[in-house]
Symmetry: C2
DNA sequence: CGGCGTTTTGAGATATCTCAATGGGAGTGG
DNA sequence: CCACTCCCATTGAGATATCTCAAAACGCCG
């Protein structure tokens, strides 16, 4: 379904789909593991798209840069997500670990061949694009319409939903302020100031090093996020 | 492929795919036509998603609103685009004509039924999501990273590529300043001022009523857009 | 002509950015 | 174990792009 048709544009990126197709599972079991340190790249825009990566641990920032170096992070990929899917021979986005991470490297050609006969897998890939699209639209609304405090609150809430362990309202950012800034279309300083404002308001607590954040008043954050 | 699987999130929106599958063509031929005046809605967020719409003429703004009324336009749909596709029973976005428009109303259930057996159509729908995703990411980069003048220049260039007749570098906005503002995450006034700045610079000429714009210096616009 | 919706323009307010300095934590090497 | 360095986060102060509020001009339609 994917590889047979040359296609002029896009690149599919992440899957929330549980990966249960049996032939796919076989692949997963025998796949190569790659470990990354913070700031290491999984792939770059323009690289040959010969692998698809399944995130097992850590956080991967998927982003696009402008010619002058400005960077927009499109999304963060967490364990269980699939990155690097697409219909083109080259990656149109870059992906970089924001913290120590581990990914499984899957052959793109093989995956796409399996998808041709395995309707369940094909459907999962399709759904993953839909999820991706929804997430991107949601971020677009945030960046286009919300103020700094709303953006940061929305980010925290979303991160909590995505990675938060039940009951615990402490989240591990596992990334730098610059990553948050590039996701939200703000500067590092504004992100920092906004976090301290949220702290001052009593909505959050920031632990040592500023990477762990305790969401003290989730209701307040939701309200601020305007969701 | 689409209807059989209840799915918790998204809504696929637009297709650039040439629509040539024969059973689909039959549907198209017998479909109901709906004519819309500017500001009329094609559908609203939360509406039952029983139809998919093929834009034949005009411009349809597809958007999302925040609880307090702020609006982010996700994209404009032009003739040849398909809107309202998705995997959910309800629309998650709203769609409104920005100018007099004409759409063909297609039964969502039927379309999805055909897609289950017609691989070519299914593939086209898949590709349309990919295109949509690429367009949304591109807009996200614009809104998150670019200045007002860069955003407006990028918008004009994109509109020209999308709807511009060969050779003619005059484009018809067919929408209000408020629509452009809500697409780019700016205010009406900033859009207006930015357009006059581009005019003063000699990059564009604005015709009567401000709806037709002549791109006088496309190179300059491209440069400004930072693409 | 008169009214309405829209665009343009102006002037002042403000959120965010920029530039710069300070401080903290982690790692390194003496 | 203590400098020392590096990277990152925080904080401050001033600059600025964009927003807000307000008024005027324009184009369209009855």
């Amino acid at each position: 379904m994917f590889s047979a048709h040359p296609e002029p544009t896009v690149d599919v990126r992440r899957s929330h789909a549980g990966l249960t197709s049996s032939s796919f599972d076989d692949r997963m079991a025998s796949a190569t593991i790659r470990r990354l340190l913070a700031k290491e790249h999984v792939f770059c825009e323009g690289d040959k798209r010969d692998h698809v990566f399944y995130v097992e641990e850590g956080v991967i920032a998927v982003y696009k840069t402008l010619p002058d170096g400005r960077r927009q992070i499109i999304d963060f990929a967490y364990p269980g997500d699939l990155i690097g899917l697409g219909v083109l021979g080259e990656h149109v986005l870059s992906a970089q670990a924001t913290a120590t991470s581990r990914v499984k490297c899957l052959s793109a050609a093989t995956l796409e061949r399996i998808a041709e006969t395995d309707a369940r897998l094909a459907l999962k890939l399709y759904k993953s694009v839909c999820h991706e699209l929804a997430a991107t639209r949601s971020l677009l609304v945030t960046v286009g319409q919300r103020s700094a405090i709303e953006r940061v609150a929305a980010f925290l809430v979303r991160l909590h939903r995505r990675t938060g362990v039940e009951e615990s309202s402490t989240i591990n950012l596992a990334m730098r302020r610059s990553d948050i800034a590039d996701l939200l279309g703000l500067t590092i300083e504004t992100v920092s100031r906004t976090l301290t404002k949220l702290r001052t308001m009593g909505a959050i607590e920031i632990e040592q090093g500023g990477t762990r954040v305790h969401l003290r008043d989730l209701g307040r954050l939701l309200e601020l996020a305007n969701e």
